[in-house]
């Protein structure tokens, strides 16, 4: 059974790739061995095979067969679209990809199939599974690669978004893009999308602006940071936790780091996010300045303490 299917799909792929014109279902049945002779079973079997081809990334073009009257639908794999330009990977490059897919990939066979298409052998068995994937992420990626506009619902608003950048950080996928419903650049957590992400029908629907797309901001003092005026905050941390704080801070200005503690300067564009973050260190952190920011924290603490 399985061998028959392999033979059948291979033959089907072959004749649909090679045909100079669209082939009718009747022609396909006569040239591909293994289809049932009964009309209804053939239809079902053929539908399943078409779905199988599409799921493997093989596009099918359906159109009227020339010269038929009344018109009869025919099928073919559009010339040039079913195949990939061979990237010409050297053996050491394939090996490196193989290892990366094994260590990082989703572990569900998708990366393995991709490698096989590019001429690589099998990947070693490993845990993998670091890069979770789902249809929303894949649709976003398709939109990104082909410059198609995406549609999805996010925070209860229907959005049309030109995808500029996909970013995986802190175990999550984020999308940065131009949100037409807001008229501004926005980022989205793809696991928070409500329902499906659909990529529009038109490739090349937009041009990504020149220059680097701003990266995703995860620092709490910067997130969503187009609401507040930027201030430079100076913050002290207890020397006992200085090592852990520094490791998590990324690129910030370190003013001092000694037995008196760690003092850093941060650009704050989101005061609420900044406050919540500083508060999480309890009395192992202190906002030193500027005075306006320090006063805000003192007022906040006074209210909580009451």
């Amino acid at each position: 059974m399985a061998a028959n299917k392999l033979e059948r799909i291979l033959t089907l792929t072959h004749i649909l790739l090679e045909t100079p014109r669209h082939l009718t279902a009747v022609e396909i049945r006569s040239r591909v061995p293994g289809y049932p002779s009964e009309e209804e079973s053939f239809r079902r079997s053929f539908e399943r095979d078409k779905a199988e081809l599409r799921s493997m990334g093989i596009p099918l073009d359906v159109d009227n067969v020339p010269g038929t009257d009344p018109p009869i639908l025919g099928y073919r794999i559009p010339p040039g679209e079913g195949t990939l330009r061979d990237p010409g990977l050297a053996p050491d490059e394939l090996d490196a990809l193989r290892l990366a897919v094994a260590v990082i990939g989703s572990g569900d066979g998708t990366g393995q199939r991709a490698l096989l298409k590019l001429g690589g052998g099998v990947t070693p068995d490993t845990a993998g599974g670091l890069l979770v994937s789902d249809p929303a992420i894949e649709a976003a990626f398709e939109g990104l690669a082909e410059r198609r506009r995406l549609s999805f619902r996010y925070h209860d608003v229907d959005r049309d978004v030109d995808p500029y950048r996909l970013q995986f950080a802190r175990n999550r996928w984020y999308l940065v893009g131009f949100d037409h419903s807001r008229g501004a650049l926005r980022w989205f957590r793809l696991d928070r999308v409500q329902g499906e992400v659909t990529a529009g029908p038109t490739p090349g629907a937009f041009e990504r602006p020149e220059g680097e797309t701003p990266g995703l901001q995860l620092a709490p003092w910067l997130v969503g940071g187009d609401t507040d005026e930027t201030v430079t905050a100076r913050v002290w941390f207890d020397p006992d936790i200085a090592a852990y704080v520094r490791a998590g801070l990324g690129d910030v200005e370190v003013v001092g780091d000694d037995s008196d503690g760690l003092v850093v300067e941060l650009p704050v564009t989101n005061r609420e996010g900044f406050r919540s973050w500083v508060m999480s260190y309890l009395d192992r952190a202190e906002v030193l300045g500027p005075a306006s920011l320090r006063d805000e924290v003192v007022d906040w603490l006074t209210e909580v303490a009451e």
């Binding site: 399985a2 299917k5 033979e7 291979l10 072959h14 790739l17 090679e18 061995p33 799921s55 493997m56 990334g57 093989i58 596009p59 079913g82 195949t83 990939l84 990237p87 010409g88 050491d92 490059e93 090996d95 490196a96 990809l97 290892l99 990366a100 897919v101 260590v103 990082i104 990939g105 989703s106 066979g109 998708t110 990366g111 199939r113 991709a114 298409k117 001429g119 052998g121 099998v122 890069l131 894949e138 990104l144 690669a145 950048r165 995986f168 802190r170 175990n171 999550r172 090592a243 003013v255 919540s276 309890l282 009395d283 300045g289 005075a291 320090r294 003192v298 603490l301 209210e303 909580v304």
Partner: protein, 324 residues
């Protein structure tokens, strides 16, 4: 890869091995070599090749066969007339390649094999790695993760300074290391804490001064559950949150979250310690109200203690901009 793979993988594998064999020209390739490359036994390989040799055999015109497969005693040679180019990658496949390679390529030289492969694949599918797609996926827990794994293999005790975030205490720990495991975005060490003789979990990013000691560590339990997270027995607290504290529901594991009036949310959480709860209350601010509190977390009246302690610090140091 086991022979019982799904159909799509089997199909792509057959095309890949035909291309692999065809690249050797008319001399062909020995069966064991080709089988090894694709994780098959020789009989499995021969069965797949025989299937391929059937394709197009029913065609009236011989030249319409997609490939010619010649099975000799010890080797196979293949000529491709069709399907000699890779089939198009699905978005999911392309994403896996570019993202996996991108995650590891960050740390590599400009012309490492992986960076070169990534550039070539990116060019074919139309994305610019690092610009269009950027992946930060710490695959092994960094230097600490590697050192801890070495200690586990060698059966040695480790010591480190640890910041217990829940209790807000910093202390030096000696631990028999059992496993390094990842949960959500964080890496953890599971092991026996020597001071308390209990199994504990430690976040790798809250360790410093990590050392492997000479002392021999005992082995972990055979049935160690590395997936367990959270504290099923921890005491519960119910808090009525203002709308702007919605992040609590999004970021912390909740037992229950019930929408209230005016966008408020009543949330039930498990508190790992009183300090943890006090920290949460300082962060969510004066608009949050504790509705119910497990008595193991202490009396409800003085939950503002952390805020008072912090306020003392600010008052001691003066209320104005403090230069150092």
């Amino acid at each position: 890869m086991s022979p019982s793979v799904d159909f799509a993988t089997r199909f792509q594998r057959l095309l890949a091995l035909l291309r692999h064999a065809a690249a050797r020209g008319d001399d062909g390739i020995p069966y064991p070599e080709l089988a090894g490359e694709f994780g098959l036994t020789v009989p499995q390989l021969v069965r797949e090749l025989e299937t391929a040799s059937m394709i197009g055999a029913d065609e009236v015109h011989y030249d319409r066969m997609p490939f010619e497969v010649i099975l000799d005693d010890d080797r196979v040679s293949v000529r491709l007339f069709s399907m000699d180019r890779p089939l198009r990658l699905t978005p999911a496949e392309a994403l896996q390649l570019v993202a996996s390679a991108g995650a590891l390529a960050n740390d590599e030289d400009e012309d490492s094999p992986l960076r070169r492969a990534l550039a070539k694949v990116g060019a074919v599918i139309g994305v610019e790695p690092g610009e269009d797609i950027d992946v930060e996926a710490d695959p092994d827990g960094g230097a600490s993760g590697r050192l801890l794994r070495d200690a586990i293999t060698a059966g040695k005790v480790v010591s480190f300074r640890y910041w217990s975030y829940g209790r807000d205490e910093v202390s030096v720990r000696e631990v028999d290391p059992w496993a390094v495991t990842r949960a959500d975005a964080e890496w953890y060490l599971i092991g026996l804490d020597r001071a308390s003789s209990e199994e504990r979990r430690f976040r790798l990013d809250r360790m410093s001064e990590l050392q492997v000691l000479d002392a021999t560590a005992g082995p972990g339990p055979k049935d160690l559950d590395t997936s367990r997270t959270g504290l099923p027995d921890a005491p519960e607290v119910v808090i009525d949150l203002p709308p702007d504290a919605r992040w609590v529901v999004e970021q912390l594991p909740t037992v229950a979250a019930v929408p209230g009036v005016d966008g408020r949310i009543t949330v039930t959480l498990r508190a790992t310690s009183r300090t943890w709860l006090e920290r949460l209350l300082v962060r969510v601010g004066p608009e949050a109200k504790v509705v119910d509190l497990d008595e193991r977390l202490g009396p409800p009246e003085v939950l503002g203690a952390a805020a008072s302690r912090m306020l003392d610090r600010y008052r001691r140091n003066g209320a104005t901009d403090r230069a150092r």
